[in-house]
Symmetry: C2
Subunit: 193 residues, 2 copies
């Protein structure tokens, strides 16, 4: 089904490529983060890639957004360049954001992204196509299936299981406004620390 | 189902992003190809992105491969850089290859790639996971469903329909050897010309 298919694709086509060490020269995610933290003189409370899985599938272009006033963009981690399926020199890199923690009065660096397949799925829902009607009706199940399957794939792969944390959340309030994702991320960071 | 899901993902997450003009500064695929042809002094018989859909899902890392002696890599078309789903500055660019046409004694430039979702799907088949058994049994149907759905999505989008040509083919011979994809691409080019 669509949801578990998206999870397989995200796992084998992205997470498995970018998170671990892929060559002798390469670094895994933790080393990339340490490298960044040293060279930029900043601190990451948790050295993992946080993956946002919002129930609505609304993936804002950037986390730097008027709705999330405590979040700023920071430069990305090191690039991995790989020729894949005849696409020459495909560029992969994880994103870094800094979040102002108002309670503790500190600036927190974190490696975080939306689950890209959901963003693409959402674009599909907003278009018209042979299967769009069905996908719209079942979108909540599809997101849940994506989350459950991805969780399982990560758990069963010792090479990646500690490099990644899934945040599956209800991103909209009753009144249709978006919740502040900064708080959601900070809560998860403080829980793990 | 998995196949049509992959088609939606490839269409909305890639083809729709990279082929048309996305901004005033941007070029669409045809303009990118003309730009390249002018600056490098070469000829593209057909200004389209050819997408290889091999029945086996085996997507070689590059088309420059001992199995395809007439094909060489060339530099890629212009890059498009976009922040997508909080992934900052994601890099997209189409690949160019030159093919030696032995019959006509000429070197032909072509914009061609494998359908990347199939490469990812294949990696999934080679792994173990909650759904892998099912995917292996139905892989041929899944590829066919991918092709049919993608064909339909392209046909229904006037902005992209002429920028793309799908090559769905049996990539292996009876004896298990790979067919020379150079011949398959050249045959399609000569047919369109
Ligand atoms: N965050 C993030 N950064 C990346 O660089 C990246 N690359 C892929 N993905 C996501 O992993 C999964 C597997 O990727 P695959 O390559 O099989 O399919 C991809 C691939 O076939 C094609 N595509 C996307 N970006 C490119 C690209 N730069 N070059 C060629 N093809 C691309 O369009 C499909 C859907 O892409 P996304 O919907 O953006 O999400 C993908 C997908 O969910 C990424 N996610």
């Amino acid at each position: 089904n669509y949801g578990s298919g998206m999870a397989y694709s995200f796992f084998h086509g992205y997470l498995k490529l970018i998170l671990p060490k892929s060559g002798r020269e390469d670094k895994n995610l933790i080393e990339e983060i340490e490298n960044y933290a040293d060279s930029q003189g900043v601190t990451f409370p948790v050295a993992k890639l946080f993956i946002l899985i919002p129930n609505s599938c609304v993936c804002h272009v950037s986390l730097k957004d008027d709705k999330f006033p405590s979040i700023e963009e920071s430069s990305s981690l090191g690039e991995k360049i790989q020729t894949v399926a005849a696409v020459q020199n495909r560029v992969y890199k994880n994103s870094v954001y800094k979040i102002l923690d108002n309670k503790r009065k500190e600036r927190v660096y974190v490696c975080v992204e939306y689950a890209t397949p959901l963003s693409t799925f959402r674009k599909g829902l907003e278009s018209s196509g042979p299967h769009t009607e069905y996908y719209r009706e079942h979108s909540q199940d599809i997101v849940l299936q994506f989350y459950i399957t991805l969780k399982k794939l990560l758990k069963e792969d010792p090479e990646i299981t500690d490099l990644c944390d899934l945040i599956y959340y209800d991103d909209m309030e009753e009144n249709g406004k978006f919740r502040d994702v900064a708080q959601i991320i900070l809560t998860r960071i403080r829980k793990i620390q």
